[in-house]
Symmetry: C2
Subunit: 454 residues, 2 copies
């Protein structure tokens, strides 16, 4: 029976046009990752539920896609729980596996499982889809790709610097104007320490973030409403109003945080990173931003976030240092730092700004019109030479009407059409049509190759 | 709590070393696919169960990985079926989605769903993992990759020829000696027709396949035991003993199948393909092999299979023409032809024959030893120049003991180590160590780039 085909909500098919663009992004980030000595790993789509459960909070557990056990999956399930329809309680009796929710937990699992094969520091990147049973909405999918690059097993701040270099190089290649926001978790801890309010750090960063919009007075009111004492609010005034160059901010922080050991450690780390960046002389705009907090419980040192300057779409890359990624799987004291490139958002930014290259090495450069018989064989011979020169080209497979063949080339956005009929064959040439300008010219094969090369 | 981490049976982690090799295979096939005008698509890992069920037979339905519905998945399930623990009957009440089992059914679904956006003939390739709840064993996984390349919407035999060209080019690039076996489903139908035994065609091909091992007499005995009449067995004697060049085989088949319209059509198709191949003058060994049957119900024209000549591992590529891929989803009369490259087996062949290139563009070419302080900055400056030249290189992130740093380079199989300590810095040079030969030499940066380039 014929059925109207569709795909699960929140998932996507990627057409050739979309794939070529997506691969342009993936190939670019990969080439940069590799230039810095990062190599790929891949982990299975399915992980044991015991690996995944409890790692993303209660809400995360619900959003995991669970795989039904194979065979007679109800056999061992508790009859009482089934009768009660206790979906949550009986779930681990029906399902032992889930689809990965991110690349971080599988990476931690990988590092612990393969610790004896790995030579640390371990520099890896991973580009794979992840799945979340989120409510689908614009820009939020149930299957989407993450591009993570991490180095674990080294405390050196050179790693932070290297990731910033990678950000710089990737976005230069992609032609996206970005600003990298930089912060340090230890600085935030220090701020909390000097006012003795470690539970208020999120409230503080959220309030500071509103300074531009609501002004100092309202910010202070908000802090008071969150339970900060008048004294505490006074103490952090210089931090709320922190401005100037990154160096000026660092100097001011060092002054305000003088009484906090951890705070000063954070300032030192920030300064060291800035020192490296000065030497490296990057084009990238780097801005010290205290309002950047990103998953506070997770990060322990540097925090990064990258935003497009031309499209308001939120963070397109983010990450930071974590000191205990693998502890949950039994391997203590492995510090790491990593960032994740948001492929879907980068795609949207590039699409909106029309930054994708028109001529992409993956696309077809030329289509030969099929005139059948001897002409077809003539075309096949020339095609071999063109492909040997590394050019993607094709012959329409049927001797169909010219209009149909030209339509095909048009729809596939093939920039050149080659006519090699009887006349051309007798002369040993081809007629080349530029599909954009409409221009036609007769050429020999060598010249043809030159013209249609990217 | 620490737990000993593991992955589901039948699944695999891929280490950097394995990934670089796998990507070498994927990148090679992709580059060839694209050279012939094929472009990638991707479909979601999850398909609706209604798309998948019933497409792979009863056994296939069992081997599908099913995704438990989100939320209160038991709520709508039939209480009676749950109480009976009727796993099979209740399954579609608990699960609406499954992981894709192959790339063919999702491709058919894609073509039908997007028929108005596609310009036919549609040339696409698809490289993605598939999942099967098979019993895991050596060489058989529950998650594995398929590389499919197909063209649909064209009856031209030029498409068959193009796929053979692709096989030729891929295996030349991968340096694997192969033979391509060619057959045609219509020829097999013709054989069945002339002896009026269309249900026996599998028995016949299986019996013929044993000719070399058991001899003609035993083959005839086997055919008799399968219910073929004495007359039928006599009629197909020339086919059982078919030998000689492809052209001689075609001539003999034309003679024997003279009474079968469909058989002669198959012979014509074979001959046309051979004619094209003569003109194209491929290096590939192509052998007409009547014992090749591959999923008879599915294919309707040409059938291909590729085997390594040096490693006995079964078929490493296979495919054929099908006339009704999309009918099941309501789009009739779309003929297509496609082949699938078996990445896991190709990997095993290349590993066994040591065919992977030692110097791969994805690997790190050089590691700089970290001497700290000024020397570190000196190294960073040179690294920038090296990377600008397109070379993958890294600086060990910590000023650790020399032995530790050299060990790291060794384990990561980095071919060159660069020493740029105080002495080198003063002279504006580096000391380059070739990790394979142990040779050391002092070089300027330009020379360094020349030596470590691939």
């Amino acid at each position: 029976m014929a059925q109207k085909p569709s795909i699960p909500k929140g998932t996507r098919d990627f057409s050739p046009v979309e794939m070529v663009k997506r691969n342009y992004i993936f190939d670019t980030v990969k080439s940069v990752f590799q230039k810095y000595g990062y190599l790929p790993i891949e982990t299975p789509a399915m992980e044991n539920l015991s690996t995944l459960l409890g790692k993303y909070g209660e809400e995360g557990d619900k959003l995991l896609f669970k795989i039904l056990n194979s065979g007679d999956y109800l056999k061992k399930a508790d009859a009482g729980l089934l009768a009660e329809k206790a979906s949550n309680k009986v779930i681990t009796q029906l399902s032992e596996k889930g689809l990965r929710y991110d690349l971080t937990v599988p990476f931690a699992r990988y590092v612990v499982q393969h610790q004896n094969e790995i030579s640390f520091p371990f520099k890896r990147y991973q580009i794979q889809p992840v799945w979340r049973a989120d409510r689908p909405q614009k820009g939020r999918y149930r299957e989407f790709f993450q591009c993570d690059v991490d180095v674990v097993g080294s405390n050196s701040l050179l790693n932070e610097v290297e990731l910033i270099q990678i950000v710089d190089e990737v976005y230069q290649l992609l032609n996206i104007n970005v600003v990298l926001k930089l912060n340090n978790r230890k600085v935030l801890s220090g701020i909390a320490e000097i006012i003795n309010a470690s539970d208020k750090i999120v409230d503080i960063t959220v309030a500071i973030d509103k300074l531009d919009k609501i002004g100092l007075e309202k910010v202070n009111e908000e802090l008071a409403s969150k339970g900060l004492s008048e004294e505490a609010i006074q103490t952090i005034q210089p931090i709320i109003m922190l401005s100037g160059t990154n160096r000026e901010k660092v100097a001011k922080l060092r002054e305000v945080l003088a009484a906090s050991e951890v705070g000063l450690k954070g300032v030192d780390e920030l300064e060291t990173v800035l020192n490296y960046l000065d030497v490296l002389n990057l084009d990238l705009e780097v801005e010290l931003d205290l309002t950047l907090a990103r998953g506070l419980n997770y990060y322990t040192g540097a925090i990064f976030e990258v935003k497009s300057k031309d499209v308001a779409i939120g963070s397109i890359t983010g990450g930071g240092r974590y000191d205990d990624l693998t502890g949950i799987f039994g391997l203590k004291d492995v510090s790491g730092v990593g960032i994740s490139f948001g492929a879907d958002r980068i795609y949207d930014v590039m699409n909106q700004l029309e930054l994708f290259p028109k001529a992409d090495g993956a696309k077809t450069r030329a289509m030969f019109v099929n005139f059948g018989g001897e002409d077809e064989l003539y075309a096949l011979g020339i095609l071999s030479q063109i492909r040997k020169a590394g050019i993607n080209a094709e012959l329409f497979p049927d001797n169909a009407k010219m209009k149909k063949q030209m339509n095909y080339a048009n729809k596939k956005e093939i920039p050149f059409v080659v006519l090699s009929g009887e006349e051309e064959r007798q002369e040993g040439v081809v007629t080349l049509k530029n599909m954009e300008t409409g221009e036609q010219s007769k050429l020999g094969v060598d010249e043809l190759i030159k013209v249609i090369s990217i």
